[in-house]
Amino acid sequence: MSASPTDASPGKRAPTKRLMAPSVLFLLVWMIVPLAMTLYYSFQDYNLMMPDMRGFAGGLSYELLFTDPVFWDALLNTLLLVATCLLVTVVAGLALALLFNRTFVGRGIARTLAISPFFVMPVVTGLIWKYMLLDPVYGLFSWVMRSIGLEPVQWLSSYPLLSVVMMISWEWTPFALLILLTGLQSLPEDQLEAVRLDGANRWQEFRHIVLPHLGQVLYVVIMLESIFFLTSFAEIYATTSGGPGTATTNLPYYIYLSAFFQYDIGLSSAAAIGAVVLANIFAIFLIRFVAGNLNAGSQR
């Protein structure tokens, strides 16, 4: 970083602002325009069934939104979904990463297989789970249940949110696994040896050396996954369609419903602004962490 443009003498300073302008402009158009339009629509009385009857609605959409019990259900579902999926993917990902960090026969193949769910498209994931695994008649799970003499479970109707959590976790555990595994592989072997000689057992070794080493990596996994889980949509769309009732309606799905089932652009825009606020609460932590890391890195 010795030759950054700002280090140059004033006379020869590179035209930083002008060079950055195109990308900044692009970002502005790309992000600010849709956001501004959403914000604008959220204050409009605008229903696609009656596109001619548009007008300023003030805070009506927000009033409707906050008094709509479905919105609060959706918000709760979103938070539940994010929290449980995070818990499952991080714990399972860490366990698998520890496993795959050891050497055993067939590790390469096992690792590839363990990572493959990540490369399946979300809609396909939904369909695989809906028809091949969870289906009460043809599904693998019900076959297993029947073959050990138990009544098959009607997953999608009896435990809809749990089913969605399983799908999303199945899809995202490989992501946590991948990142945590790279973290584990960057742990110097001699630190483990030192701690073993210092008298630590396996658990203490994990608790005092491995976990602190993974600290930053864990933070990144949690933050990135929260952002992704907030926007889960395809899995729900392909399986439960937000039901039964509102059991699996999360915020993105609520926005979708109000826009394309109620045709209420004003309401869905207001909900979208709510989602943006929620996403930003998560993003603040992420950005603060990344910035903190960059600072720490430059001090080193």
Binding site: D190, E193, N201
Partner: protein, 383 residues
Amino acid sequence: MAIVELKNVAKRYDSMPGKKGAEHANAVEDFNLTTKDGEFVVLVGPSGCGKSTTMRMIAGLEHNTAGEIRINGQDVSSVEPRDRDIAMVFQSYALYPHMSVYHNMAFALELKKTPKEEVKQRVQEAARILDIEHLLDRKPRALSGGQRQRVALGRALVRQPQVFLMDEPLSNLDARLRVGMRAEITRLHRRLGVTTFYVTHDQTEAMTMGQRIVVMRDGRIQQVDTPYNLYERPVNRFVAGFIGTPSMNFLQADHHGDGLGGQGFSCPLGPRLQAALGEGGQRSSCWLGIRPEHLHQVEESSGRGRLEGVIEVIEPLGPVTMVQVRVGDTLVTAQLAAHLDVEIGDTLGLAFDPDQVHLFDIESDQALGLEPDSAASSTQATA
């Protein structure tokens, strides 16, 4: 404090396809050594000679595939590293990066649930000995190489273990710091009296620090002896060339009549050399080993060995000057006086005392004419 015994210890790696060749399958072979209580033993040898592997076997980080390792009489082959009561200083220091210096040092004691007061007192004591009291709150990241080295030592010291293991602890320090720490570790050992194994590839470190030195090569012990004996009575050509800087010169000499000689050199045979040459049958040739410091620039004198050659390199070091002379097809190094009136290309005649030369068998490289006492103290190398 402890007596460490290694009996016929060996380490054999299953040669994996695609990895190193079969010739590296035996990392250590037939290692026998018994330390005295509180002894400072240095393992020295070129890289890949098995010295680090041996140390890691003592630590329990590697399993010996044959033989047994005993600490105070107890076979530790199946004892976990954490239960061996051994502290190790790593070449990379291996400090815990997220812990302060204090916690790095206190960690082992805290794992053993030592009372807080005692932990504090022991860490303070070790920090005082190593002069790192002012660094206790810092993270390893904020320390210099030399300071990290001290913390690594302190971490081992605090535990008051039975055995210290040090794996090239000074090799990451700059030359000046290394000399200082060398003396400091020696002083520390004298003060604590803990049995210590020290691995290095630097023969100067070995000579200055070790009470006893184990010279290894290709997984085998070449000689186990005191620094003085290693220098004076090396058991083979490898040890002779490895110990001492600059290295001993070797000339292939033919035995004719009452002397040894070859192109550009000659050496009269006294009774000692005569007997050595006759050892195990008469031989017509041998290796003649002369240390650079035993070559002198003197006028003709009877009863001395002589060699003569063209000067190729002159290296003034200050107190002495190193001169490399082409004798036959061998380059001979001589350590001469500081002020020399010679130039590259000159022909230089040098003399040496026949009592100071070493003879080695031309085939086996084993030393000839070793006095019985040194032959006894050296181990299998001659077997």
